[in-house]
Amino acid sequence: MVAETKADWIVSGSGWARAWLNRLAPFLGLVLVILVFAILIGEPEKYLSLKNLRTVLAQTVIVAIGAIGMTAIIISGGIDLSVGSAIALTGVITALGINAGWSATMAISVGILVGGFVGVVNGMAITRLRVVPFIATLGMLGVARGVAKGIAGSQTVNMPETWANDLLLTVPKQSWMLVAPGVWIAIALAFLAAVVLRRTVFGRRLFALGSNEAAARACGIATDRLKIYIYGLAGLLFGLAGVMQMSRLRQGDPTVAMGLELDIIAAVVIGGGSLSGGEGSILGSMIGALIMAFLRNGCQQVGWPNYIQEIIIGALIVFAVAIDRWRHARLSAA
């Protein structure tokens, strides 16, 4: 049962070649976006220079780490609207910790754990209080933002310089790293999450839960406990995203990342995730995040005004999902 659901998710095509093509589709979309902008800008060597790639990758990290957690939640049939607020909250807490004289390692750990705690509270509200995820996390969006502003005293929290500030340095201090340390962390986490989702019992249960919750429960999966785990684990990732945000701003800012949850959800959806659950892939979500970052960077360098960027990204989300639906309809008809 569970295995079947998973097979259906990957691709129900005829051969491995087609399977690979399907898996590569979002990747080709990314390449196309990059190519189009390289041509439009007229100076491809500048757009594709190491300098610009470093910039775009560092800019993608926060959305990418958030999207790893969001992918898991969306696969399980849930949604989390409180990510932006959780990022602000954990960033503020980490900054306050460093200010209080904790070591950066300690402060960052606490920040990440607070993110996990926020996730667990979301999970509890969804399972114990029987509030649908949309509403439960909508509530948390307000609560976490308010707490962040409260503990920060409605001010940004400035902090002394530590290595935490260097996590997303566009040009890393150790030149052998090539890109910001945070980029490597995001890549490692994405790899880990992809393995967990595809190769472990936990991952399979997650897909089962999102495909058909009643059937998953009937098969003996403790769905409530599983949901709390998912929101908690995703929360840890959102906490890390908050630490990254703090590192970029070099301060805890309680007003940052407003509306960022929408970018993160968009990344997952562009990458093939389905809001009705049971579908999604880490690789797809990462590419979704990169597509948006390259689009933004490209639009700016071509000299297009902001409203055009917003229109393109908005249209892209609808296109990506429409094409996905269309492919599904064709597959189920065949």
Binding site: L32, T156, T255, A257, Q300, I308, F319
Partner: protein
């Protein structure tokens, strides 16, 4: 596959509409990126016009100055503004004129831009960095003090006063708020400050909500109000109008729009502290261009504040500040 084709087509379509600009590689040509905090306030339009005026004046055949105007994608979002600065730095513009949303958060991208060979002039709000060419801005503390003087005078030195703050972490408005409070406490000790800790948030809408809440609570007592920028003044003004209290409470605001001028004529607003954003945009671009052309420039340039009241509203100087020649420079 079709997903890709469709994305590609839509992008190409947009490209066609916009017809890509030619990037001349002339070494004498200067490209200056001007980055405001947002683009919807009229204040920023004046800065934009001033920047374009400077670009036109400083251009000569073979040594053009081009201004690229771009605000953060989400207004008042530091992360988004950082991304714009980083984008211009890696694109390799000649110089940046930036109104930073935060005095600390923008330090790293500005310093990284400098390392990459792109210098920055800061306008409007301070940045805590030594790596900038110059800081071109209003003396905000003085602006707040002018507001306190006017309100204290209107109230005859006694009464109950509300200060509605703008948003957390904005250096320029914090300076104005501090200047207002300092002057009020020193010069008018009999004025009672009944609320000074409420923040209005970034937009007129949030400011109106905050104002309504304040008026519900203090509406019967309050005799004087000060707001430190355009959105807070506009929000408070429309809240006062809705509550039928406009004109009954002494009200001093900051920045200028047509709405405020009308309100002053109707005696609903009793004074506005006016900056000179047109001059700020003009001097900002002029300073970075002069610096790039090898001249030495001042480290701090004040662009001036003025108190406009219903009495001096029609004076020539006031009119020049209230109606900068936007149409001439912005199509």
């Amino acid at each position: 596959m079709r997903k890709i084709i469709l994305i590609g087509l839509s992008l190409l379509l947009l490209a066609g509409v916009n017809c890509s600009r030619s990037n001349s590689k002339n070494s004498k040509k200067l490209t200056i990126a001007v980055i405001p905090k947002g683009t919807s306030h009229e204040f920023w339009k004046s800065i934009h016009a001033g920047a374009i005026k400077a670009a036109r004046e400083l251009s000569s055949p073979g040594a053009e100055v081009e201004v690229i105007w771009k605000g953060p994608l989400r207004e008042d979002d530091r992360e988004q503004q950082i991304q714009v600065v980083e984008g211009f730095a890696s694109q390799g513009v000649s110089g940046i004129v930036l109104a930073p949303l935060d005095n600390r958060a923008l330090v790293r991208p500005v310093e990284e831009a400098k390392t990459a060979g792109v210098p920055t002039v800061i306008i409007d709000s301070a940045l805590e960095s030594q790596s900038i060419v110059s800081f071109v801005a209003t003396d905000n503390r003085k602006g707040g003090m002018l507001g306190a003087d006017r309100l204290g005078e209107l109230l005859g030195g006694k009464g109950k006063v509300i200060l509605l703050r703008y948003a957390e972490g904005s250096a320029s408005t914090e300076e104005r708020e501090a200047g207002f409070l300092q002057e009020m406490k020193q010069k008018y000790p009999n004025v009672e400050l009944i609320s000074t800790d409420q923040y209005a948030g970034a937009t007129r809408d949030t400011a109106k909500r905050a104002s309504e809440n304040l008026l519900n609570r203090f509406g019967d007592d309050v005799q004087g109000i000060f707001c430190p920028n355009e959105s807070t003044t506009a929000g408070m003004l429309s809240a006062l109008q809705d509550a039928g209290k406009a004109g009954k409470v002494m009200f001093v605001g900051f920045d200028a729009t047509q709405m405020f001028v009308d309100a002053m004529k109707a005696k609903q607003l009793h004074g506005i502290v006016v900056q000179n954003p047109f001059n700020m945009g003009y001097v900002g671009v002029k300073t970075i261009v002069e610096s790039l052309r090898g001249k030495t420039v001042e480290k701090r340039i004040d662009t001036g504040v003025t108190m406009i009241t219903p009495d001096n509203l029609d004076a020539k100087d006031s009119q020049a500040l209230l109606h900068p020649p936007l149409d001439e420079y912005l199509k």
